[in-house]
C-alpha cells in the first residue's frame, strides 16, 4: 500500500507528530501549561499568590470528587448524581452542628424538631458534633452510591438513567430539607477544614483540604495500580463478559465502585461546605458538568477500560484554570455554560479520535 521508500514530507511528519501528541498521556498537562501561560499574558493577576491560593482551594475538592468519577468511568459507567450528593450531604451535615437556626425559616422543614431546632443542630456544642456530622455525610454518600450501584448491577438499568434519577431525587430532597435556605452559623472548627493553615511564605498554600485530596489521590492511585480490585475495574471496563468468565465478582465490584463515587462526593462536600461555611442545598449544582469535563479531558475514556489518577489530576487543574480564567475575565454566565459544554465535547472528541487511532495501530 504505502511506498516505504518515500521520504516523509513535512505534512506527513506533522501528522505523525499530531498523532503522537494526541495519544500522549501528558497532552492535557501541556494544555494546562499553555493555558496558564496564555492567561498570564492576558491578565498578570493570574500568577498572584492570592489567585494561586484561590485556584488551589478550588482544585482540591474538585479533585476529590473527580477521583470517584474516574473509578466509575473506568468500569464504563457514569455517575451523574455526585452533584446532588454534595448538596444533600451538605444540608444534613450542617443540620447536625448548626449553632443556631431561625425558626421562621426552618420550622416547616422536615428536619425541624428532630435534627434542627431553635438552639441549632441536635449536636450543637457537643464535642461529638463535628465527627458525627462528618460521619453522617460520608455514610449518606456511601448509601446513595450503593443504591446507584445496585440498580446498575442487579436491575440492569443504564447507568446514566439511574444516576440522573438519583440526581433529581436527592437534589430536590436537599432543597426540601433546607426549605431552599442555607443553614448558616456553623462552628469555626468546622470551617477550618477548608482554610489554609495561615502560615506565611512558601507553605501558605497548605490546608487540610489539600491533605485530604492528595491523600485520597495516593490511595486511589494505589488501588488502581497495585491492587486486585484495580485490575478488576480495568477488566470489567474492557470486557465485562470476559471478566465474569475469569471469576471477577462483577456485580459486587460495580456496587462498591458507585459507593466509592458517592463517598468521594460526600468527602468533597465536607470541604465545600466548610469553605462556604453553610449547609447549602444547591452546593453541588454547578459541579456536575465540571466533574465530568475534568475527568474526561484528563484522558479517562467514556467507554471504559482506561483511566489514571494522574490524568484526572491534570484534567482537574485544566478545568479549574479555565473556570478561574472565565471569572477573572468577567465572562458572563451563559458563555461559561457554552465553554464548559464545549470542553466536554472537545474531550469526548479526543476520546473518539484516540480510540480510532488505537484500532488502526494493529
Amino acid at each position: 500500500m504505502t511506498a516505504l521508500a518515500q521520504e516523509p514530507t513535512p505534512a506527513i511528519r506533522l501528522r505523525a507528530l499530531g498523532r503522537r501528541l494526541l495519544m500522549s498521556e501528558y497532552l492535557i498537562l501541556y494544555l494546562c501549561i499553555a493555558l496558564f501561560g496564555l492567561l498570564f499574558l492576558i491578565e498578570p493577576k493570574t500568577a498572584s499568590p492570592y489567585n494561586i491560593k484561590n485556584l488551589l482551594s478550588n482544585i482540591w475538592p474538585l479533585l476529590v470528587v473527580a477521583i470517584g468519577q474516574t473509578f466509575v468511568l473506568i468500569i464504563a459507567g457514569i455517575d451523574l448524581s455526585q452533584g446532588s450528593v454534595i448538596s444533600v450531604t451538605s444540608v444534613l451535615g450542617a443540620a447536625f452542628i448548626a449553632q443556631s437556626a431561625n425558626p421562621i425559616i426552618f420550622s416547616k422543614s422536615p428536619l425541624w424538631g428532630s435534627l434542627l431546632s431553635e438552639g441549632g443542630g441536635v449536636l450543637n456544642g457537643s464535642p461529638l458534633g463535628i465527627p458525627v456530622a462528618l460521619a453522617v455525610m460520608l455514610v449518606v454518600g456511601l448509601a446513595i452510591g450503593a443504591f446507584n450501584g445496585i440498580a446498575v448491577a442487579f436491575w440492569r438499568i443504564p447507568a446514566f438513567m439511574v444516576t440522573l434519577v438519583t440526581s433529581m431525587f436527592f437534589g430536590a430532597f436537599a432543597i426540601l430539607l433546607a426549605k431552599s435556605e442555607n443553614i448558616i452559623d456553623l462552628p469555626d472548627s468546622f470551617s477550618a477544614i477548608g482554610d489554609s493553615f495561615g502560615i506565611n511564605g512558601a507553605l501558605q498554600f497548605l490546608s487540610i483540604a489539600m491533605f485530604i485530596a492528595l491523600g485520597l489521590a495516593v490511595i486511589a492511585h494505589f488501588i488502581l495500580r497495585r491492587t486486585v480490585f484495580g485490575r478488576w475495574l480495568y477488566g470489567i471496563g474492557t470486557n465485562g463478559r470476559a471478566a465474569v468468565v475469569s471469576g471477577v465478582p462483577v456485580r459486587k465490584v460495580i456496587v462498591l465502585t458507585y459507593m466509592f463515587s458517592g463517598f468521594c462526593a460526600a468527602l468533597a462536600s465536607i470541604i465545600y461546605t466548610s469553605r462556604v461555611q453553610q449547609g447549602r442545598p444547591t452546593l453541588g449544582e454547578p459541579f456536575l458538568l465540571d466533574i465530568i469535563a475534568a475527568v474526561v479531558i484528563g484522558g479517562t475514556s467514556l467507554a471504559g477500560g482506561r483511566g489514571k489518577i494522574l490524568w484526572t489530576i491534570f484534567g482537574v487543574i485544566f478545568l479549574t484554570l479555565l473556570s478561574n480564567a472565565l471569572s477573572l475575565l468577567n465572562v458572563a454566565y451563559f458563555y461559561v455554560a457554552i465553554v464548559k459544554g464545549s470542553v466536554i465535547l472537545f474531550a469526548a472528541l479526543i476520546d473518539v479520535a484516540r480510540r480510532r487511532i488505537a484500532l488502526q495501530a494493529v
Binding site: 494505589f222 486486585v228 485490575r231 477488566g235 470476559a242 468468565v245 471469576g247
Partner: protein, 503 residues
Amino acid sequence: MTDTLLRFEDVSKAFFGVTVLKGVSLEVERGTVLGLVGENGAGKSTLMNILGGVVRLDSGQLLLDGNPYDPAAPSDADRAGIAFIHQELNLFTNMSIAENLFISDFPKRRGLPLVDRGRMRERARECLAMVDLDVSPEVLVERLTPGERQLVEVAKALSVDARILIFDEPTTSLTARETERLFEIIGRLKESGKTILYISHILRDIMQLADAIAVLRDGALVAHGPKASYTVSSMIAAMVGRDLKQLYPDRTSSPGTEVALEVRQLSKAGIAERIDLALHKGEVLGVFGLMGSGRSELARIIFGLDEFDEGEVRIDGQPVKKLSPTRNIRNGMAFVTENRREEGLLMEATVADNLSLAALPAFSSRLARAIRSKSLATAVSGSVEALSIKVNDAFHDEAKGLSGGNQQKVVLGKWLMTKPSILIIDEPTRGVDVGAKFEIYEIIDGIAAKGTAVLFISSEIEELVGMCDRIVVMGTGETLATFDRAQFDREALLRSAFREHVA
C-alpha cells in the same frame, strides 16, 4: 458444457496478521449446489463473507458471470443477486414477517411515501408459499420457532430474486422435518436455475444435496470435484490430510480412578436432557458433537455461567448448590470458552494483564489485596516461557496483536495460573495454526499428566481421537454414546453423532 456463474481467483485474506485464506481458486456452475466443507477455521465462512460483501478480500478477485465483482458492503451483494443466509439470523424480532422481508425495500403506494401494506402482505404470502411456511405474514418474528425463522430468511433471499444463495450451517436449529423441508426447497430452487453454496459440518447432508464438493483445509482449497468422486470418508481424509499419528504428542498421562467432576441427570428446558458425566483425575475426556449439540451450553452450566433446572453437579464428590464462576474457580475449576474474543481475552489489555486476570487473588496480600507484583511478574514470565507464547514484551504488548494460536495460549495460560484441578476447554484450537495446535496439545497432555481432570470439547474428531482417553458423543442436549480409547473409530464416532438427524 460448463456454465460458470461464479469464479474465485486466487483469493487471500488475513485477519490481524493470521492468514485465513490462501490463494483459493474455485469455479461454481450455474444451477448447481456446491457443498463447502472443512474443519473449524478452514476458511469456509470467510470465503462466503467475502462473496457476501461482509468483509473485503486482501488479494485476488471474484468474477460474476465473467465480470469483476467487488462488493464493498452487504448491500452491493444484495444488488448483485447474492443472498447470504447466516448462521446467526438477522431478523428483527419486534416486526412482522412481511416487514422483515421488505425492510430495506418496502412496496410503496403510488406516488406517496407510504408503505403499501396490502401489497406487502400479498408478496410476503407468495414468498412464504415458496418455502412452504404456513404462517400469516403479519405474525411477529419473535413468535416463530428457530426453524420457522430460518425459513423466513430463505424467503427473504427469494423475495429479492437472488440468483446465488449461500447457506451457512442452516440446519443446526431445525427439527428433522424442517430439515427435510429445507432440502426439498433447495432442490426446487436448483431446478428453477438458482445457484446454491452450502456450508455444513454434516457431511451426510452434503452428500445428499451437493452436485460438486469443495474441501478447504487451513485456508487452502485441497479438493474440488463432482459429488460422485467423494464419500464421507474421503471428505474427512481430505479435510485432515495427514497421518494421524504424527499430529499429536505421545500421551504421557493416564486417567486415575478418583472422580473429580460428576454431572448427574442435569436438565434444562430446551438445552440439556438428563446428562450424566463422570470425569476422573488425570483423564482427558472428550466431548464430541456436531454444531448445536449442546456441549458448550453444558460447559457453561457446569461452570456456573448459566442456570439449570434439575440435576446435580459434584466436585470432588461434594454436590455444589449454587454454581458461580467465582466459587468454581476457588474450587479449582477453569474454563477456556470457545470464543476467546468475546469471553476469553481483554483485547486492549496487555498479555500480562490477561494472563494474571483469573489468578490475581492468589498473588495478593490478605489485607488490601495488594498485588505482589514481583511474584506475579515472575509467574507471568514463567507462563509465557512454558507455553512458548510468541510475544515481544508480555508486559506492554496488547493481546489483540497476537496471532490466533498465541492468543489461545494466553487464555490457557490465564487458567493454568490458577492451578486448576478441573479444566474445561471448548474448541481450543479454533482459528489456530498447525504449529501452535501441536503445542497446545502438548500443554493439555502435560496438565493431565499432573493429575488435572480435563474436559475437552471439540467438533474435530481427529483431535479428540488423538488426545482423549474417552469420548462422549452429544447431540441435541443429550449424551448419545461413550467410547473408550480402545473403541475409537472416526466413522463410528461420526455415525453416533449423526444418529439424531437420521431419525
